[in-house]
Structure formats: C-alpha cells, structure tokens
C-alpha cells in the first residue's frame, strides 16, 4: 500500500490526528535536516495551520480527499505565496512571491500540508545537489555522497521519510536522477501535462514539474492531482485529464518493452547499472512482456544538443534578474545602471549559473545562432522523430536513469562538460517531450540504489506508471530508510 493511502486511512480512522502526524514530521526534520539538508525553509506554522484545518474537517464528519493532510515538500523554484522561494541562489535569497504556482494552488486546495521548501541546485542547474548557495544536500544512504540534482532536497526529503511526497522539477533529468540516487520513485511528465505557471523557468521548452515519492502508487496519485490544463500556461495541454491510478494494476502481459542499443553498448554506463538493467529485462519478461532492441542514434548527440538549447533558453530566462524589481542588488556606487546590474548579477549568481548564461548568450549571438541554436533545434526534432519510430515498435522503452550510482561529494573536475554527461540517460526524454518514471531496480555492492527509467510516448503516463507498478510489485527494491518518520 502506498504511503498516501496509508496516511489517508489513519487520518480517516482517527488513528492519528493530522496535527500529530505533522508534528512528527516537523520533529524529524528538526532532528535530521541539519545532517541531510533536504530543506532550506521549514514552514512549521503554515503546516500546523493546514493540519488543524484538516482535523476540523475530519471532526465535522466531512470526507477528505486522498491528498488531504498528507505532509509534503516543494522544490524551492516553485512559487509559494508568502513563503520565500529562493531557487537556492543568493540572487533570490530574500524573494517572497506574491502569487502561487498553479500546481501549489491545486494541492493547497486539496488540503496538502506543506512542511517546507526543498534544497536544490541553484536555478536547477546541476546534477549533484552541490550547487546550492545554502549548502549541499546529502544522500541518506551515505551522507558522504551526493543526493543527485537538481531536485536533490526533494529526493532526500522523500528518501529520508521527512516528507511523504515532494514536487521536484525536471529539465534534463533533475527529478529522475536524484530519485535514482536516493532510491525513490520520480516522474517527469510529458511536456505540457502539468502547468509551469509559477515554476521559475530554467529552460522553458524542457522544464516540467514532477512528483517524487517512495512508491509508484503515491507518484500516481500526486500526478493525477497536479496534471491537467491551466489557462495561465499556453504550453499546457488543455485536453489531458489523466487518471493513472485507475489503471495502475492492469496486467502488462503482451506489452512490448524496448531497450536502447545506444545505452546497452555504452561504456560510460557502469557494469553494476548494466547488470541491474539486465535483471530488469528478465523481470519484464517474467511479467509477460516482450523485450526488443531499438535504435535511437541521436541519443549520442543528445547531451550537447541539450546543453545548447537549455543554456540558450536559460540565458534569456535569467536575464530578468537585475535587482531592480526584486532580488539581489549590489551595494555601492556605480557609474551606470548597466554596471549596477552587472555587479548584482555577478555577485548574486553562482559560477555554474554564470557559465551557462554565458554559453547561452554565445550560442544565440547573431554570428553563431544558425550554427548552434538553430541546428540544436533541428537535431532535437530528429531525436523526437526517432523516438516516434521506436514507439511504433514497442509500448514503452526502459533505460538506466544514471550511468552510475551516487558518487562522492566535491568531485573535482577540470572540465564542466564531464558533469553534464551525468545526464546522458535522461536528457533525451526532455528533448523529445516524453514522460519517464524512474524507480529503483537494484543496489550496488555498497548498497547504493540504482534507478531504471520507463519511458513512454507522449501523454502515456497511465501506461508507464502501470508498467512501473507491476515492476515494483514483482521486485523488492523499495527500502525504508532509518531516517525520519516511521509510520
């Protein structure tokens, strides 16, 4: 049984009050967060107020929804009105939004209990959780290791039982990769399935908000709740109203599962990960699925393509941060507004963010644009076309989430692009706007979780979650951590 359903039952049966439940989580956070640093802001007052409201509703005999009273966390790049939203950047350290992101509005109305804002890589740029201006989050399996990123705090909060579920964001793998490193389930929805209104943009054509939880059922419930049209987001599909929970338990006999040759043959993917993937193939075959090999050659260029597109869009999206209307403004005297703005931005942004902004400005500049940005768009279309062709041969595609399990913090790299290759397994689905769910499929010799992605065609979240659920039930890879709240 998923956690959400479990809690819903406890609350309805009054085995525990929502306040008691919330206090348990808040206490656990107080105890464990200093070491794990999953949260950068804890919203104890708001959480207890919301909890009390739920308790009143239950006392009055009212029906509460599945997500009512369930304590959760939100990545700190999603706008929460009246609660500071920093993107873990000095640039927004004191920024408090005056409006709610649409997804948060929805969940708030469903009675969600917000425990706090989760740590992340600055402006969602990073794959380790170490680019936060407040300090790195740590992997609950081994605190010397990275949590993964950029939704590191979200993954940690779920993995360490400091939240039942979390909303993260995924631009190139930022929900799935930390989910994989921390042994939890994370979904990147189809581009356009979930509203981006209120999500501080990194790369507008790639960003999606996605749920993370410890079971597939929980992810399914949250996704169904946040997905759907939004008049405030022009890129959000107005016709899609999924009910993935309904078909989670469908039989998957006869389904065809594809494996990508370009990953299977890839030497950057560690032997342990490959071995877990091979085991996963056997599991699907045992469940009655047929497994075939598919070719997606454009995957080999997908990280550079992603780099060009995401940096280009980011350079534009982050240009608004100049300290004039909000955000960090440098002190001192300046000869011109231009200088003030340059100083504010240079002091407010971390190094990775500055690198990517400059890269983006460069690839969009008039003499380079047609070589880099325009071509990257074309290659992106080509990749999309290849996936379409693959989906004519199979129902879903499975792939590793990350080339290795979690690694040691403070890894020194001379070349920033080495870190970008950490995203090699995930960026392709953002580029092709496809949904992908990551869930544990094995453990390394050191006991570190290994994640597998199940990738589907556009708007096939019901199918990939169904396949994920069946896999989860057929295996025993869900572990309960020693951290946090024990229910």
């Amino acid at each position: 049984m998923g956690r959400i359903e479990q809690i819903h039952s406890l609350l309805c049966k009054k085995d525990i009050s929502c306040r008691e439940l919330t206090e348990e989580y808040l206490n656990a956070i107080q105890r464990d967060n200093p070491e794990l640093f999953a949260y950068v802001t804890v919203t104890a007052q708001e959480a207890l107020t919301a909890a009390d409201k739920i308790d009143r509703q239950i006392a009055q005999g009212g029906d509460i929804g599945m997500l009512s009273g369930v304590p959760m966390s939100i990545k700190d790049n999603i706008s929460t009105r009246g609660i500071r939203t920093t993107c873990c950047s000095k640039m927004l350290a004191d920024y408090t939004p005056v409006y709610d992101a649409s997804v948060w509005s929805k969940l708030k109305n469903s009675g969600a209990v917000l425990l706090g804002k989760a740590n992340m890589d600055e402006f969602a740029m990073g794959s380790t959780g170490e680019n936060s201006c407040f300090g790195a989050s740590s992997n609950p399996y081994n605190t010397a290791l990275v949590s993964g990123g950029s939704s590191g705090g979200s993954a940690v909060s779920v993995s360490a039982n400091l939240a039942v579920y979390s909303l993260g964001t995924d631009t190139g793998g930022s929900v799935r990769q930390p989910a994989s490193f921390c042994g939890v389930v994370g979904l990147k929805p189809t581009y356009g399935a979930v509203s981006r209104y209120g999500l501080v943009a990194f790369a507008s054509s790639l960003d999606q908000i996605g749920p993370m939880a410890s079971t597939v059922e929980d992810v399914s419930l949250v996704f169904d709740s946040i997905a759907g049209g939004d008049v405030l987001d022009s890129t959000c599909n107005r016709d899609y109203k999924p009910d993935t929970y309904k078909t989670l338990k469908d039989d998957i006999k006869g389904r065809t599962v594809g494996i990508i040759r370009q990953f299977a043959d890839n030497n950057s993917i560690s032997p342990e990960v490959k071995s877990s993937m091979n085991e996963a193939v056997k599991t699907f075959e045992d469940l009655g699925a047929k497994v075939i090999m598919v070719d997606i050659p454009e995957i080999l260029r997908s990280v550079p393509v992603y780099c060009v597109i995401s940096c280009a869009e980011a350079s534009s999206n982050l240009a608004r941060f100049d300290g004039i209307r909000y955000g960090y403004r440098a002190q001192g005297d300046f000869m011109s507004i231009h200088q003030l703005i340059c100083k504010s931005r240079s002091e407010g942004f971390g190094k990775e963010v500055k690198r990517r902004i400059m890269m983006g400005t460069n690839v969009l500049s008039s003499d380079k644009c047609s070589f880099y940005y325009d071509k990257a768009r074309a290659l992106r279309q080509a990749l999309s076309n290849e996936f379409s062709r693959a989906f004519s041969q199979c129902d879903v595609i499975i792939a590793p989430t990350a080339p290795t399990p979690a690694f040691v913090k403070n890894r020194v790299v001379a070349d920033p692009t080495v870190l970008y290759m950490e995203d090699m397994c995930t960026v392709c689905t953002n580029l092709a706007s496809l949904p992908a769910v990551s869930l544990p499929c094995g453990y390394s010799a050191q006991g570190l979780p290994i994640g597998m992605q199940i990738i589907g065609d556009k708007f096939s979240e019901s199918l990939i979650l169904n396949m994920a659920y069946k896999f989860q039930q057929a295996t025993d890879f869900m572990r309960t951590s020693d951290w946090g709240v024990k229910l």
């Binding site: 927004l92 939004p97 987001d233 869009e313």
Partner: protein, 470 residues
C-alpha cells in the same frame, strides 16, 4: 539639391484592447503607477504569457486595411535586450514570420508607400527621469502593439507627414487604435539616409527613435538631412547610429553607449505556440472593417455630388460619416443633409473630442425628415434652419415643432396673388428696379416673405415678381 533624401518609417501603434497582450491587466492610460500590473507583465519569476485574441484581430484588421497579406500561421519570438523598462529583459515580438507582409498606403499623389511588414508585440514600461534617479512605472508594460514597417520609399518630409496623418486617421477610423501621439499610443522610429542625386545605392542610414509628434519628426528629418549632407561634403562618412531628437536644441544625438550594444539573439518564444488565423477568421475580420475613408470620399463626391472639402469634413470622424450615411440613405437630398451637418451641427462643438463623439439630440431619421420637408418644398430654407436649431436644442422632431400651417405649401395661386400685391404696394421699389437698381427687387421679395410668414420660397417669389414687373 545635390543629395536626395530617403526615409523609412517604423510606426508603433498601441491597439485599442481593454486588457494587455499577454495578461488581463487593464490598458487604461494614466493610471496611478504600478497599479495595473501582475506577475506576467511585471515579469516575475515563474510567470507565463497567454495571448489576447482581440489584439490579434485588431492587428489583422490593420493589415487588411493596409492591403497586406495576412499569414495563416505566424510565430512569436523573443527579442533579448536589457533596459529598465523591460522587466523580462526580452520583448515578446515577431521576427522572421510576422503576421502581415507586403501592403501599401496610397498618398494623395497616387504614390504608394510600400509596407514591408506588420507584426505584433508588447509595449514596455515608462521611465521618468529625475535629476538623481529614474522612476519606473510598468502600467504600460505588456500593452499590445503593432509595428508597421515601410520600405525606404519617402523622398520628402511632406510625404512623411501625409503618411503619418493618413495612417493615424485610418487606424482611428477603423477602431484599431486611438493613435494619440501625445499620449504615446503612436510612436515613430525614423530611418534617414541621403545619397547623391542619381545614384541607386542608398546611403548609410541613421535611426531616430520614439518620435511622438509630426512636427518634431519633420524637424528631426530636416536636421538629420543637413547633418548627413555636411558630413558627406567634408568627405566623412555617416555612421549607422541610433539617435534621439532633442526638442530643446532641435538636434539629434546618439542614444546608445557601448554598454547598450544590442544583439537581439532572436529565438522562438518557447512559452507560446504558433499564432493561427484561418481564412474564415480573416474574412470575418475583413467584413467588420467599415468602408474606408478614401472610398467614402469617392462615393460622396461621385454619388451625392458633395465637394471634396465637404466630403473630407464628413469622414474626419467615423461617427459623423456613419451618421451622414444614414441621413443620406433616408433622405432625398444628401447634399442638403451634409449642409445641415457641416453648417449647423458642427458649430455645436468646441473641442475635437466633442466633435469626434458627435453627441447630438437629433437622430439621422429626424434630420432626414427635415431634409425631405425642404426637398418637397413644404418648408423653405429659412424655416428649415430655424427648425433645426430648435431640434438640436429641444430634441423634438420636425413634425412636433412645425404646425400644419407652417408646412402647408403655399399654392401657386397664393404666391401669384401675393406677388401682385407686392408690386401694387411697393411702387417705389418697382420704379427703382425698372430704373436699373437690381437690388430693389429684394424689397418686394421681402414683402412677399413677410406676408406669407416666411412660407414663400424666396427664389420662386423673385422669379414671379420679375415676370410681373416686366
């Protein structure tokens, strides 16, 4: 003149929508600062644009009125640059696939100023420069704009003046924009270059930005023409600069420093999808466009026999021309109707705004009735004039104001006898007239008018009197 002037114009026009281009904040002018803003038009982190359908409609209407081809599919692009009045540090505009291309505006001379393109975009905020600081108001940020770009077809400042005034009138007339240059709802960027007479290649052009009055535009062009000619005479070259016109000095000066160097890095706006207008929608918009002023003028002159001057008076404001069209439709003498409108009704208004609103207490039907009474000879022009005055004041109809007797026609026989009596009673005047004083007949006419209590037609009376006297 050794050097020829070449001018191209880029005109920004604010569309008459109630709400902004990408959000539902009000577009009302002169609101208290930053009271008409939201996360979208303030560019707050996480905000996203959603297009205003009516803005696209008005843009299409403008394109059709300027004889452009309207694209079924066009795209929005980001134009990236940093300036305090631009909160997102990019403007959502259109770059390589705009909404309209290839139109023209015809001048009186018959010359067609070619319109390269019209595209939709959003306006920026307003900066108020004080001595030690700059104040920023984002109320205007996000107001829908169209940018109308011409080919470098202008050769004289008169052509430029005529184009701007005609464009302004046309856009107001069809309801696309109020085009108030003083309020900033219409601004022009002027591209100026000069070349040796007879050469084909255009000279290097400079761009004078944000001109908000025709008079200043003319002065700026003339200054720039002189400046560029002088440079070339000294064998120096003109640098491609962005300039502003300083009203106090009457000169242009460079606007941008090295720090403001612009590379717009255009790319497709990822937060929006394509702008799609079907052929059916284009036709429906076309049907909404009223008869254009230039076509009305032709029709008034050719069909109703109005003078060009009177026709121009009537088409100045849409309400007036529509009022006149109705009167013309319902009456036997549109020309008379025009006279009443221009001669009497216009004098009711003291401001242009009042005239544009044309709030009169006389309906077109009512005026048409009066016109017909006059045309049928039931009343004469004097009575018509005084009656109209009363109608305008009281709002009553002609029927209510005129008695049966007033309207009863003076019969031929009655007129005959009146004229005979006039001749008999005014022998002195008759003698004067016979003696060569032409004007003496007017005394007799006056007698007939008085005796008939104004009902007689003075012209007919005069003719009859002349007959009798002979």
């Amino acid at each position: 003149m050794k050097y020829e002037l070449t001018v191209g114009l880029e005109t920004h026009i604010e569309l008459s929508t109630k709400s902004k281009m990408f959000c539902s904040c009000s577009t009302a002018f002169a609101g208290a600062p930053n009271t008409q803003c939201c996360p979208v038009c303030l560019g707050l982190p996480g905000s996203l644009p959603v297009m205003n359908r009516y803005a696209v409609e008005l843009a299409v209407m403008a394109g059709l009125a300027l004889n452009c081809k309207v694209a079924n599919t066009s795209y929005m692009d980001r134009k990236n640059y940093s300036y305090p009045d631009l909160p997102k540090a990019y403007q959502i505009s259109q770059y390589d696939v705009p909404l309209c291309i290839g139109g023209y505006l015809e001048l009186q001379s018959g010359k067609k100023i070619r319109i390269t393109r019209i595209h939709i975009e959003e306006d920026a905020g307003k900066l108020v420069h004080k001595e030690k600081e700059t104040l920023i108001d984002y109320n205007r940020c996000g107001v829908p704009l169209i940018e109308i770009v011409t080919e470098p077809d202008f050769c004289t400042v008169d052509e430029v003046r005529e184009y701007v005034e005609t464009l302004q009138h046309l856009m107001r007339y069809i309801g696309v924009s109020d085009c108030r240059m003083q309020e900033g709802s219409m601004r022009c960027d002027v591209n100026v270059s000069v070349r040796l007479k007879g050469t084909d290649a255009l000279g290097t052009r400079t761009e004078i930005k944000n001109m908000n009055s025709v008079a200043n535009m003319v002065r700026a062009i003339e200054y720039e023409y002189t400046r560029q000619c002088e440079l070339l005479e000294k064998e120096q070259s003109v640098t491609q600069d962005t300039l502003r016109y300083v009203e106090e000095t009457g000169k242009t000066s460079p606007m941008r420093s090295k720090e403001d160097a612009r590379d717009y890095r255009f790319f497709r706006e990822p937060d929006l999808l394509s702008v799609s207008v079907s052929d059916e929608e284009i036709k429906a918009i076309k049907d909404k466009i009223p008869e254009l002023p230039k076509d009305k003028i032709k029709r008034y002159i050719q069909t109703f026999g109005l003078t060009e001057a009177d026709a121009n008076h009537l088409i100045k404001y849409r309400r007036i021309s529509e009022y006149f069209d109705e009167v013309a439709r319902l009456s036997k003498s549109p020309k008379t109707g025009a006279k009443f409108i221009i001669g009497q009704m216009f004098s009711l208004f003291s401001t242009e705004a009042q005239k544009e609103a044309f709030a009169v207490r006389v309906t077109p039907e009512s005026l048409a009735t009066l016109v017909n009474l006059l045309a049928d000879g039931k009343i004469n022009s004097n009575l018509a004039k005084t009656t109209l005055e009363q109608m305008l004041i009281t709002g009553k109809s002609a029927d209510e104001l005129l008695s049966a007797e007033d309207m009863a026609a003076l019969s031929e026989a009655d007129l005959d006898s009146l004229c005979k009596r006039a001749v008999e009673s005014n022998t002195g005047a008759v003698a004067d007239y016979k003696g060569g004083k032409e004007k003496a007949i007017m005394a007799l006419v006056g007698f007939v008018m008085r005796e008939s209590r104004g009902k007689a037609n003075p012209e007919s009376a005069k003719e009859k009197l002349k007959e009798i006297i002979k």
